[in-house]
Protein backbone atom coordinates (compact mmCIF):
# COMPACT_ATOMS: atom_id res chain seq x y z
CA UNK A 1 0.00 0.00 0.00
CA UNK A 2 1.48 3.28 -1.07
CA UNK A 3 0.01 5.69 1.47
CA UNK A 4 1.70 8.76 -0.01
CA UNK A 5 0.27 8.05 -3.44
CA UNK A 6 -3.26 7.53 -2.13
CA UNK A 7 -3.17 10.67 0.01
CA UNK A 8 -2.03 12.80 -2.91
CA UNK A 9 -5.00 11.41 -4.88
CA UNK A 10 -7.33 12.27 -1.98
CA UNK A 11 -5.97 15.79 -1.76
CA UNK A 12 -6.41 16.33 -5.50
CA UNK A 13 -9.95 14.97 -5.27
CA UNK A 14 -10.90 17.24 -2.37
CA UNK A 15 -9.49 20.29 -4.13
CA UNK A 16 -11.29 19.54 -7.37
CA UNK A 17 -14.63 19.41 -5.51
CA UNK A 18 -13.77 22.27 -3.16
CA UNK A 19 -17.30 23.75 -2.97
CA UNK A 20 -18.90 20.37 -2.43
CA UNK A 21 -16.33 19.47 0.20
CA UNK A 22 -16.89 22.71 2.10
CA UNK A 23 -20.66 22.20 2.03
CA UNK A 24 -20.15 18.70 3.37
CA UNK A 25 -17.79 19.84 6.11
CA UNK A 26 -20.17 22.58 7.27
CA UNK A 27 -23.13 20.20 7.28
CA UNK A 28 -21.25 17.57 9.23
CA UNK A 29 -19.93 20.17 11.68
CA UNK A 30 -23.38 21.59 12.43
CA UNK A 31 -25.03 18.20 12.56
CA UNK A 32 -22.45 16.77 14.92
CA UNK A 33 -22.41 19.90 17.09
CA UNK A 34 -26.18 19.63 17.55
CA UNK A 35 -25.92 15.93 18.27
CA UNK A 36 -23.25 16.77 20.84
CA UNK A 37 -25.37 19.49 22.43
CA UNK A 38 -28.25 17.05 22.66
CA UNK A 39 -25.96 14.59 24.40
CA UNK A 40 -24.61 17.27 26.74
CA UNK A 41 -28.13 18.25 27.72
CA UNK A 42 -28.80 14.60 28.39
CA UNK A 43 -25.77 14.31 30.63
CA UNK A 44 -26.79 17.49 32.40
CA UNK A 45 -30.34 16.33 32.95
CA UNK A 46 -29.34 12.96 34.32
CA UNK A 47 -26.71 14.34 36.70
CA UNK A 48 -29.10 17.06 37.87
CA UNK A 49 -31.91 14.55 38.24
CA UNK A 50 -29.76 12.22 40.33
CA UNK A 51 -28.91 15.12 42.55
CA UNK A 52 -32.46 16.29 42.87
CA UNK A 53 -34.21 12.98 43.33
CA UNK A 54 -33.17 12.62 46.96
CA UNK A 55 -33.37 16.36 47.58
CA UNK A 56 -36.89 16.92 46.43
CA UNK A 57 -39.04 17.83 49.34
CA UNK A 58 -41.90 20.06 50.35
CA UNK A 59 -40.85 23.32 51.95
CA UNK A 60 -43.22 24.92 54.40
CA UNK A 61 -42.09 28.50 54.80
CA UNK A 62 -43.08 30.24 57.99
CA UNK A 63 -44.27 33.77 58.54
CA UNK A 64 -41.82 36.35 59.82
CA UNK A 65 -42.23 39.96 60.77
CA UNK A 66 -43.14 41.94 57.70
CA UNK A 67 -43.63 38.87 55.51
CA UNK A 68 -45.20 40.06 52.27
CA UNK A 69 -47.33 36.96 51.82
CA UNK A 70 -51.13 37.18 52.12
CA UNK A 71 -51.25 34.43 54.77
CA UNK A 72 -49.08 36.42 57.16
CA UNK A 73 -50.22 39.99 56.62
CA UNK A 74 -51.04 41.85 59.81
CA UNK A 75 -50.23 38.83 62.01
CA UNK A 76 -46.53 39.43 62.63
CA UNK A 77 -44.15 36.50 62.85
CA UNK A 78 -45.02 32.97 63.85
CA UNK A 79 -45.06 32.31 67.59
CA UNK A 80 -43.16 29.51 69.29
CA UNK A 81 -46.47 27.88 70.25
CA UNK A 82 -47.70 27.94 66.68
CA UNK A 83 -44.41 26.53 65.48
CA UNK A 84 -44.61 23.60 67.95
CA UNK A 85 -48.22 22.96 67.03
CA UNK A 86 -47.39 22.97 63.34
CA UNK A 87 -44.55 20.51 63.84
CA UNK A 88 -46.91 18.17 65.74
CA UNK A 89 -49.44 18.45 62.95
CA UNK A 90 -46.87 17.58 60.27
CA UNK A 91 -45.48 14.66 62.21
CA UNK A 92 -48.99 13.28 62.67
CA UNK A 93 -49.56 13.02 58.91
CA UNK A 94 -49.28 9.47 57.57
CA UNK A 95 -47.69 10.57 54.27
CA UNK A 96 -44.71 12.19 55.94
CA UNK A 97 -41.47 10.26 56.23
CA UNK A 98 -39.49 12.81 58.17
CA UNK A 99 -39.46 16.53 58.83
CA UNK A 100 -36.64 18.90 59.60
CA UNK A 101 -36.64 22.44 60.79
CA UNK A 102 -34.41 24.87 58.97
CA UNK A 103 -33.64 28.07 60.85
CA UNK A 104 -32.44 31.32 59.35
CA UNK A 105 -28.70 30.64 59.80
CA UNK A 106 -28.95 27.26 58.15
CA UNK A 107 -31.07 28.62 55.34
CA UNK A 108 -28.45 31.30 54.75
CA UNK A 109 -25.67 28.68 54.59
CA UNK A 110 -27.57 26.64 52.01
CA UNK A 111 -28.32 29.77 50.07
CA UNK A 112 -24.64 30.77 50.02
CA UNK A 113 -23.64 27.35 48.81
CA UNK A 114 -26.29 27.20 46.14
CA UNK A 115 -25.44 30.62 44.71
CA UNK A 116 -21.67 30.41 45.23
CA UNK A 117 -21.13 31.67 41.68
CA UNK A 118 -23.28 34.71 42.21
CA UNK A 119 -21.34 36.73 44.77
CA UNK A 120 -23.39 39.87 44.18
CA UNK A 121 -26.58 38.12 45.18
CA UNK A 122 -24.95 36.52 48.23
CA UNK A 123 -23.47 39.83 49.36
CA UNK A 124 -26.83 41.59 49.06
CA UNK A 125 -28.62 39.03 51.21
CA UNK A 126 -28.56 39.05 55.01
CA UNK A 127 -29.29 36.22 57.40
CA UNK A 128 -32.43 38.04 58.59
CA UNK A 129 -33.82 37.92 55.05
CA UNK A 130 -33.89 34.17 55.04
CA UNK A 131 -37.19 32.49 55.92
CA UNK A 132 -37.53 29.72 58.47
CA UNK A 133 -39.07 26.55 57.13
CA UNK A 134 -40.00 22.96 57.73
CA UNK A 135 -38.53 20.61 55.17
CA UNK A 136 -40.78 17.61 54.65
CA UNK A 137 -39.72 14.44 52.97
CA UNK A 138 -42.66 12.35 51.81
CA UNK A 139 -42.79 8.58 51.83
CA UNK A 140 -44.15 8.69 48.31
CA UNK A 141 -43.39 11.97 46.52
CA UNK A 142 -46.50 11.52 44.35
CA UNK A 143 -48.83 12.11 47.32
CA UNK A 144 -48.03 15.75 47.80
CA UNK A 145 -51.46 17.18 46.96
CA UNK A 146 -53.20 16.52 50.29
CA UNK A 147 -50.21 17.56 52.40
CA UNK A 148 -49.83 20.86 50.61
CA UNK A 149 -53.53 21.64 50.83
CA UNK A 150 -53.68 21.01 54.58
CA UNK A 151 -50.52 22.89 55.48
CA UNK A 152 -51.35 25.86 53.29
CA UNK A 153 -54.26 26.65 55.67
CA UNK A 154 -52.27 26.20 58.90
CA UNK A 155 -51.55 29.14 61.20
CA UNK A 156 -48.26 30.96 60.68
CA UNK A 157 -47.48 29.36 57.30
CA UNK A 158 -46.54 31.84 54.61
CA UNK A 159 -46.15 29.52 51.66
CA UNK A 160 -45.87 25.82 50.80
CA UNK A 161 -43.56 25.04 47.92
CA UNK A 162 -43.32 21.68 46.22
CA UNK A 163 -39.85 21.57 44.71
CA UNK A 164 -40.92 18.90 42.27
CA UNK A 165 -42.84 21.50 40.34
CA UNK A 166 -39.81 23.76 39.93
CA UNK A 167 -37.52 20.89 39.05
CA UNK A 168 -40.03 19.43 36.62
CA UNK A 169 -40.38 22.75 34.84
CA UNK A 170 -36.62 22.97 34.51
CA UNK A 171 -36.30 19.43 33.22
CA UNK A 172 -39.20 19.94 30.86
CA UNK A 173 -37.42 22.92 29.33
CA UNK A 174 -34.17 20.99 28.96
CA UNK A 175 -36.03 18.06 27.46
CA UNK A 176 -37.59 20.24 24.77
CA UNK A 177 -34.20 21.77 24.04
CA UNK A 178 -32.64 18.35 23.71
CA UNK A 179 -35.38 17.01 21.42
CA UNK A 180 -35.12 20.00 19.10
CA UNK A 181 -31.31 19.73 18.98
CA UNK A 182 -31.53 16.04 18.15
CA UNK A 183 -34.19 16.54 15.48
CA UNK A 184 -32.13 19.21 13.73
CA UNK A 185 -29.05 16.98 14.09
CA UNK A 186 -30.94 14.17 12.40
CA UNK A 187 -31.92 16.45 9.50
CA UNK A 188 -28.29 17.52 9.18
CA UNK A 189 -27.12 13.93 9.11
CA UNK A 190 -29.62 13.21 6.36
CA UNK A 191 -28.38 16.24 4.40
CA UNK A 192 -24.79 15.12 4.95
CA UNK A 193 -25.57 11.70 3.52
CA UNK A 194 -27.10 13.24 0.40
CA UNK A 195 -24.12 15.57 0.04
CA UNK A 196 -21.72 12.66 0.33
CA UNK A 197 -23.65 10.87 -2.39
CA UNK A 198 -23.22 13.88 -4.64
CA UNK A 199 -19.56 14.33 -3.76
CA UNK A 200 -18.81 10.73 -4.55
CA UNK A 201 -20.62 11.01 -7.86
CA UNK A 202 -18.64 14.12 -8.82
CA UNK A 203 -15.45 12.48 -7.68
CA UNK A 204 -16.18 9.35 -9.65
CA UNK A 205 -16.84 11.46 -12.74
CA UNK A 206 -13.70 13.55 -12.28
CA UNK A 207 -11.63 10.46 -11.79
CA UNK A 208 -13.25 8.24 -14.41
CA UNK A 209 -10.10 8.02 -16.55
CA UNK A 210 -7.89 7.14 -13.61
CA UNK A 211 -10.42 4.59 -12.38
CA UNK A 212 -10.70 2.96 -15.80
CA UNK A 213 -6.92 2.60 -16.03
CA UNK A 214 -6.66 1.34 -12.48
CA UNK A 215 -9.16 -1.38 -13.29
CA UNK A 216 -7.29 -2.21 -16.46
CA UNK A 217 -3.86 -2.60 -14.92
CA UNK A 218 -5.25 -4.69 -12.07
CA UNK A 219 -5.38 -2.33 -9.12
CA UNK A 220 -7.22 -3.99 -6.25
CA UNK A 221 -10.69 -2.77 -5.30
CA UNK A 222 -9.21 -1.37 -2.12
CA UNK A 223 -6.86 0.84 -4.11
CA UNK A 224 -9.64 2.02 -6.40
CA UNK A 225 -12.10 2.73 -3.60
CA UNK A 226 -9.74 4.06 -0.97
CA UNK A 227 -9.44 7.62 -2.35
CA UNK A 228 -13.24 8.01 -2.42
CA UNK A 229 -13.76 6.68 1.08
CA UNK A 230 -10.81 8.65 2.42
CA UNK A 231 -12.21 11.83 0.88
CA UNK A 232 -15.41 11.27 2.86
CA UNK A 233 -13.38 10.44 5.94
CA UNK A 234 -11.20 13.55 5.74
CA UNK A 235 -14.28 15.75 5.25
CA UNK A 236 -15.98 14.02 8.18
CA UNK A 237 -12.89 14.48 10.34
CA UNK A 238 -12.55 18.17 9.55
CA UNK A 239 -16.28 18.63 10.22
CA UNK A 240 -15.85 16.73 13.48
CA UNK A 241 -12.98 18.93 14.61
CA UNK A 242 -15.03 22.05 13.87
CA UNK A 243 -17.99 20.60 15.77
CA UNK A 244 -15.58 19.90 18.64
CA UNK A 245 -14.76 23.60 18.83
CA UNK A 246 -18.48 24.42 18.68
CA UNK A 247 -19.13 22.06 21.58
CA UNK A 248 -16.37 23.62 23.67
CA UNK A 249 -17.97 26.99 22.97
CA UNK A 250 -21.39 25.57 23.88
CA UNK A 251 -20.05 24.26 27.19
CA UNK A 252 -18.62 27.67 28.07
CA UNK A 253 -21.47 29.84 26.83
CA UNK A 254 -24.61 27.79 27.42
CA UNK A 255 -23.86 25.24 30.10
CA UNK A 256 -21.48 27.22 32.31
CA UNK A 257 -23.92 30.12 32.08
CA UNK A 258 -26.81 27.90 33.07
CA UNK A 259 -24.84 26.37 35.92
CA UNK A 260 -24.99 29.55 37.93
CA UNK A 261 -28.44 28.26 38.75
CA UNK A 262 -27.33 24.74 39.56
CA UNK A 263 -25.52 23.33 42.57
CA UNK A 264 -21.92 22.20 42.12
CA UNK A 265 -22.77 18.50 42.33
CA UNK A 266 -24.92 18.71 39.21
CA UNK A 267 -22.42 20.53 37.00
CA UNK A 268 -21.02 19.14 33.79
CA UNK A 269 -17.27 18.53 33.81
CA UNK A 270 -14.77 18.92 30.94
CA UNK A 271 -14.44 15.17 31.05
CA UNK A 272 -18.10 14.83 30.07
CA UNK A 273 -17.49 17.28 27.22
CA UNK A 274 -14.44 15.34 26.02
CA UNK A 275 -16.46 12.13 25.87
CA UNK A 276 -19.22 13.87 23.92
CA UNK A 277 -16.71 15.38 21.46
CA UNK A 278 -14.96 12.05 20.90
CA UNK A 279 -18.30 10.34 20.35
CA UNK A 280 -19.66 12.93 17.89
CA UNK A 281 -16.40 12.94 15.91
CA UNK A 282 -16.51 9.17 15.65
CA UNK A 283 -20.16 9.32 14.54
CA UNK A 284 -19.36 12.03 11.95
CA UNK A 285 -16.47 10.07 10.46
CA UNK A 286 -18.41 6.84 10.51
CA UNK A 287 -21.42 8.35 8.76
CA UNK A 288 -19.18 9.84 6.05
CA UNK A 289 -17.24 6.61 5.51
CA UNK A 290 -20.33 4.42 5.37
CA UNK A 291 -22.20 6.83 3.09
CA UNK A 292 -19.17 7.08 0.76
CA UNK A 293 -18.80 3.34 0.67
CA UNK A 294 -22.46 2.71 -0.08
CA UNK A 295 -22.80 5.37 -2.79
CA UNK A 296 -19.48 4.29 -4.27
CA UNK A 297 -21.08 1.07 -5.41
CA UNK A 298 -23.62 3.00 -7.44
CA UNK A 299 -21.20 5.20 -9.32
CA UNK A 300 -18.03 3.14 -9.49
CA UNK A 301 -17.84 -0.18 -11.24
CA UNK A 302 -15.02 -2.25 -9.88
Amino acid sequence: MRAGFIFSEVWIGLRRNATMTIALIVTVAIGMALLGIGMMINTQVSSAKNYWTDKVEISVFLCQKNSPFDNCKGKGGITQAQKAKLEQQIKAMTEVERVEFEDQAQAYENFKQQYANNSVLVAATRVEDMPESFRIKLKNPENYGNVIETLQKAEGVSQVVDQRKIVDNFFGFLGTLRSSALIVALIQVFAAILLIGNTVRLSAYNRRRETAIMRLVGASNLYIQAPFVLEGMVAGLIGGVISGFMLVAAKIVIFDGMQNYLVAAARMTWEDVAIVIAFTMAVGVLICVIASFVTLRRYLKV
Partner: protein, 229 residues
Protein backbone atom coordinates in the same frame (compact mmCIF):
# COMPACT_ATOMS: atom_id res chain seq x y z
CA UNK B 1 -1.80 -19.25 -22.54
CA UNK B 2 -5.31 -18.39 -23.79
CA UNK B 3 -7.75 -21.23 -24.21
CA UNK B 4 -11.37 -20.80 -25.37
CA UNK B 5 -13.54 -23.91 -25.37
CA UNK B 6 -16.95 -23.63 -27.03
CA UNK B 7 -17.51 -20.14 -25.70
CA UNK B 8 -20.85 -18.40 -26.34
CA UNK B 9 -21.65 -14.87 -25.19
CA UNK B 10 -24.92 -13.05 -25.78
CA UNK B 11 -25.38 -9.52 -24.46
CA UNK B 12 -28.66 -8.67 -22.74
CA UNK B 13 -31.42 -7.53 -25.14
CA UNK B 14 -29.60 -8.94 -28.14
CA UNK B 15 -31.01 -11.88 -30.01
CA UNK B 16 -27.78 -12.75 -31.84
CA UNK B 17 -24.77 -13.94 -29.82
CA UNK B 18 -21.65 -11.75 -29.94
CA UNK B 19 -19.55 -14.90 -29.82
CA UNK B 20 -20.99 -18.23 -30.94
CA UNK B 21 -19.35 -21.47 -29.84
CA UNK B 22 -15.82 -20.19 -30.25
CA UNK B 23 -12.91 -22.54 -29.56
CA UNK B 24 -9.37 -21.29 -29.98
CA UNK B 25 -5.94 -21.86 -28.43
CA UNK B 26 -3.17 -19.30 -28.22
CA UNK B 27 0.20 -20.58 -27.00
CA UNK B 28 2.75 -18.74 -24.95
CA UNK B 29 4.78 -16.30 -26.99
CA UNK B 30 2.46 -16.35 -30.01
CA UNK B 31 1.48 -13.27 -32.02
CA UNK B 32 -2.14 -13.45 -33.18
CA UNK B 33 -4.12 -11.05 -35.36
CA UNK B 34 -7.83 -10.99 -34.72
CA UNK B 35 -9.57 -9.75 -37.87
CA UNK B 36 -13.15 -9.38 -39.03
CA UNK B 37 -15.69 -6.65 -39.73
CA UNK B 38 -17.07 -4.40 -36.98
CA UNK B 39 -19.47 -6.27 -34.74
CA UNK B 40 -17.92 -9.63 -35.55
CA UNK B 41 -16.97 -10.22 -31.92
CA UNK B 42 -13.33 -9.11 -31.71
CA UNK B 43 -13.82 -6.75 -28.79
CA UNK B 44 -15.99 -9.26 -26.96
CA UNK B 45 -13.20 -11.79 -27.36
CA UNK B 46 -10.73 -9.39 -25.73
CA UNK B 47 -13.17 -8.40 -22.97
CA UNK B 48 -13.72 -12.05 -22.10
CA UNK B 49 -9.97 -12.56 -21.70
CA UNK B 50 -9.87 -9.60 -19.30
CA UNK B 51 -12.95 -10.94 -17.53
CA UNK B 52 -14.75 -7.68 -18.14
CA UNK B 53 -17.52 -10.03 -19.27
CA UNK B 54 -18.41 -13.59 -18.40
CA UNK B 55 -19.41 -16.13 -21.05
CA UNK B 56 -22.90 -17.64 -21.07
CA UNK B 57 -21.44 -21.07 -21.75
CA UNK B 58 -18.09 -22.66 -22.46
CA UNK B 59 -14.85 -22.31 -20.54
CA UNK B 60 -12.00 -19.84 -20.79
CA UNK B 61 -8.51 -20.41 -19.40
CA UNK B 62 -6.10 -17.50 -19.26
CA UNK B 63 -2.54 -17.87 -17.92
CA UNK B 64 -3.47 -21.22 -16.41
CA UNK B 65 -6.57 -19.91 -14.60
CA UNK B 66 -10.14 -21.04 -15.23
CA UNK B 67 -11.94 -17.71 -15.44
CA UNK B 68 -15.35 -19.17 -14.58
CA UNK B 69 -13.94 -20.25 -11.24
CA UNK B 70 -11.99 -17.07 -10.58
CA UNK B 71 -13.50 -15.05 -7.73
CA UNK B 72 -14.10 -11.33 -8.22
CA UNK B 73 -11.52 -10.77 -5.55
CA UNK B 74 -8.80 -12.31 -7.73
CA UNK B 75 -9.69 -10.57 -10.99
CA UNK B 76 -7.21 -7.70 -10.36
CA UNK B 77 -4.41 -10.25 -10.10
CA UNK B 78 -5.41 -11.71 -13.44
CA UNK B 79 -5.36 -8.26 -14.99
CA UNK B 80 -1.87 -7.60 -13.70
CA UNK B 81 -0.68 -10.35 -16.03
CA UNK B 82 -2.41 -8.78 -19.02
CA UNK B 83 -1.41 -5.51 -20.68
CA UNK B 84 -3.91 -3.52 -22.75
CA UNK B 85 -3.58 -1.03 -25.58
CA UNK B 86 -6.51 0.75 -27.22
CA UNK B 87 -7.27 2.76 -30.33
CA UNK B 88 -7.82 5.90 -28.20
CA UNK B 89 -4.60 5.56 -26.09
CA UNK B 90 -6.39 6.32 -22.78
CA UNK B 91 -3.57 8.36 -21.26
CA UNK B 92 -4.09 10.64 -18.26
CA UNK B 93 -3.96 14.17 -19.69
CA UNK B 94 -2.64 15.79 -16.52
CA UNK B 95 0.31 13.43 -16.13
CA UNK B 96 3.50 13.40 -18.19
CA UNK B 97 4.92 10.37 -19.99
CA UNK B 98 6.87 9.11 -17.00
CA UNK B 99 3.94 9.61 -14.61
CA UNK B 100 1.51 7.90 -16.96
CA UNK B 101 3.68 4.81 -17.09
CA UNK B 102 4.50 4.94 -13.38
CA UNK B 103 0.77 5.21 -12.54
CA UNK B 104 0.23 1.60 -13.64
CA UNK B 105 2.78 0.46 -11.06
CA UNK B 106 1.77 2.87 -8.30
CA UNK B 107 -1.83 1.65 -8.25
CA UNK B 108 -0.75 -1.95 -7.79
CA UNK B 109 1.40 -0.92 -4.86
CA UNK B 110 4.91 -1.32 -6.32
CA UNK B 111 7.65 0.37 -4.28
CA UNK B 112 8.97 3.70 -5.49
CA UNK B 113 12.53 2.43 -5.96
CA UNK B 114 11.34 -0.28 -8.30
CA UNK B 115 9.27 2.24 -10.28
CA UNK B 116 12.24 4.60 -10.69
CA UNK B 117 14.27 1.75 -12.08
CA UNK B 118 11.87 0.11 -14.54
CA UNK B 119 9.91 3.03 -15.96
CA UNK B 120 12.89 4.62 -17.79
CA UNK B 121 13.80 1.21 -19.22
CA UNK B 122 10.35 0.71 -20.70
CA UNK B 123 10.14 4.29 -21.95
CA UNK B 124 13.35 3.59 -23.84
CA UNK B 125 12.06 0.23 -25.11
CA UNK B 126 9.11 1.92 -26.84
CA UNK B 127 11.44 4.54 -28.34
CA UNK B 128 10.55 7.60 -26.26
CA UNK B 129 13.91 8.23 -24.60
CA UNK B 130 14.33 11.94 -23.83
CA UNK B 131 10.56 12.54 -23.85
CA UNK B 132 9.74 11.28 -20.36
CA UNK B 133 8.68 14.71 -19.14
CA UNK B 134 6.44 15.65 -22.06
CA UNK B 135 2.71 15.93 -21.50
CA UNK B 136 0.42 13.78 -23.69
CA UNK B 137 -0.90 16.81 -25.64
CA UNK B 138 2.65 17.67 -26.65
CA UNK B 139 3.06 14.29 -28.36
CA UNK B 140 1.97 12.98 -31.76
CA UNK B 141 -0.60 10.20 -31.99
CA UNK B 142 2.10 7.62 -32.62
CA UNK B 143 4.11 8.79 -29.64
CA UNK B 144 1.01 8.71 -27.43
CA UNK B 145 0.37 5.12 -28.47
CA UNK B 146 3.97 4.30 -27.54
CA UNK B 147 3.31 5.70 -24.07
CA UNK B 148 0.21 3.50 -23.81
CA UNK B 149 2.29 0.49 -24.87
CA UNK B 150 4.95 1.33 -22.30
CA UNK B 151 2.23 1.49 -19.64
CA UNK B 152 0.77 -1.84 -20.78
CA UNK B 153 4.17 -3.51 -20.76
CA UNK B 154 5.84 -1.94 -17.73
CA UNK B 155 4.62 -4.67 -15.37
CA UNK B 156 5.98 -7.34 -17.78
CA UNK B 157 2.60 -8.99 -18.47
CA UNK B 158 2.37 -12.48 -19.93
CA UNK B 159 -0.22 -11.32 -22.43
CA UNK B 160 -0.62 -8.06 -24.32
CA UNK B 161 -4.04 -7.29 -25.80
CA UNK B 162 -4.20 -4.58 -28.45
CA UNK B 163 -7.59 -3.37 -29.69
CA UNK B 164 -6.96 -1.66 -33.02
CA UNK B 165 -3.82 0.08 -31.78
CA UNK B 166 -3.14 1.63 -35.18
CA UNK B 167 -6.75 2.74 -35.77
CA UNK B 168 -5.98 6.43 -35.14
CA UNK B 169 -2.52 6.47 -36.65
CA UNK B 170 -1.27 7.03 -40.20
CA UNK B 171 0.26 4.04 -42.04
CA UNK B 172 3.86 5.25 -41.84
CA UNK B 173 3.70 5.71 -38.06
CA UNK B 174 1.84 2.42 -37.70
CA UNK B 175 4.93 0.55 -38.85
CA UNK B 176 6.82 1.97 -35.85
CA UNK B 177 4.02 0.86 -33.52
CA UNK B 178 4.11 -2.64 -34.99
CA UNK B 179 7.88 -2.75 -34.48
CA UNK B 180 7.38 -2.02 -30.79
CA UNK B 181 4.68 -4.72 -30.55
CA UNK B 182 7.03 -7.14 -32.30
CA UNK B 183 9.82 -6.22 -29.86
CA UNK B 184 7.45 -6.89 -26.94
CA UNK B 185 6.44 -10.20 -28.51
CA UNK B 186 10.10 -11.22 -28.80
CA UNK B 187 10.51 -10.91 -25.01
CA UNK B 188 8.15 -13.90 -24.78
CA UNK B 189 4.92 -11.96 -24.28
CA UNK B 190 1.87 -13.36 -26.02
CA UNK B 191 0.29 -10.65 -28.20
CA UNK B 192 -3.33 -10.63 -29.41
CA UNK B 193 -4.13 -7.73 -31.69
CA UNK B 194 -7.56 -6.93 -33.09
CA UNK B 195 -7.29 -4.89 -36.27
CA UNK B 196 -8.82 -3.74 -39.54
CA UNK B 197 -5.45 -2.82 -41.02
CA UNK B 198 -4.92 -5.20 -43.95
CA UNK B 199 -1.50 -3.81 -44.88
CA UNK B 200 -0.11 -4.50 -41.42
CA UNK B 201 -1.51 -8.02 -41.22
CA UNK B 202 -0.17 -8.84 -44.65
CA UNK B 203 3.29 -7.48 -43.92
CA UNK B 204 3.74 -9.27 -40.57
CA UNK B 205 2.80 -12.78 -41.76
CA UNK B 206 1.64 -13.93 -38.32
CA UNK B 207 -1.21 -16.17 -37.24
CA UNK B 208 -4.61 -14.75 -38.26
CA UNK B 209 -7.93 -15.61 -36.63
CA UNK B 210 -10.90 -14.26 -38.55
CA UNK B 211 -14.28 -13.76 -36.90
CA UNK B 212 -17.59 -13.21 -38.64
CA UNK B 213 -20.90 -12.85 -36.81
CA UNK B 214 -19.34 -14.27 -33.70
CA UNK B 215 -17.87 -17.37 -35.31
CA UNK B 216 -14.34 -18.26 -36.27
CA UNK B 217 -14.31 -18.57 -40.05
CA UNK B 218 -10.53 -18.85 -40.48
CA UNK B 219 -7.54 -19.68 -38.31
CA UNK B 220 -4.34 -19.61 -40.28
CA UNK B 221 -0.70 -19.48 -39.25
CA UNK B 222 1.38 -16.97 -41.26
CA UNK B 223 -1.87 -15.66 -42.76
CA UNK B 224 -2.98 -12.53 -44.57
CA UNK B 225 -5.87 -10.14 -43.89
CA UNK B 226 -8.38 -11.46 -46.40
CA UNK B 227 -8.25 -14.59 -48.53
CA UNK B 228 -9.76 -12.71 -51.46
CA UNK B 229 -6.51 -10.92 -52.03
Amino acid sequence: MIHFNNVTKTYPNQNRPALDRVSVDVDKGEFVFLVGPSGSGKSTFLRLILREEKPDSGTIHVAGKDLSRLSNFKVPHLRRRIGCVFQDFRLLPNKNVYENVAFALEVIGKPRRFIRKVVPEVVELVGLEGKAHRMPHELSGGEQQRVAMARAFVNRPMILLADEPTGNIDPATSIGIMKVLDRINRTGTTVVMATHDAAIVDSMRKRVVELEDGRIVRDQSRGVYGQAY
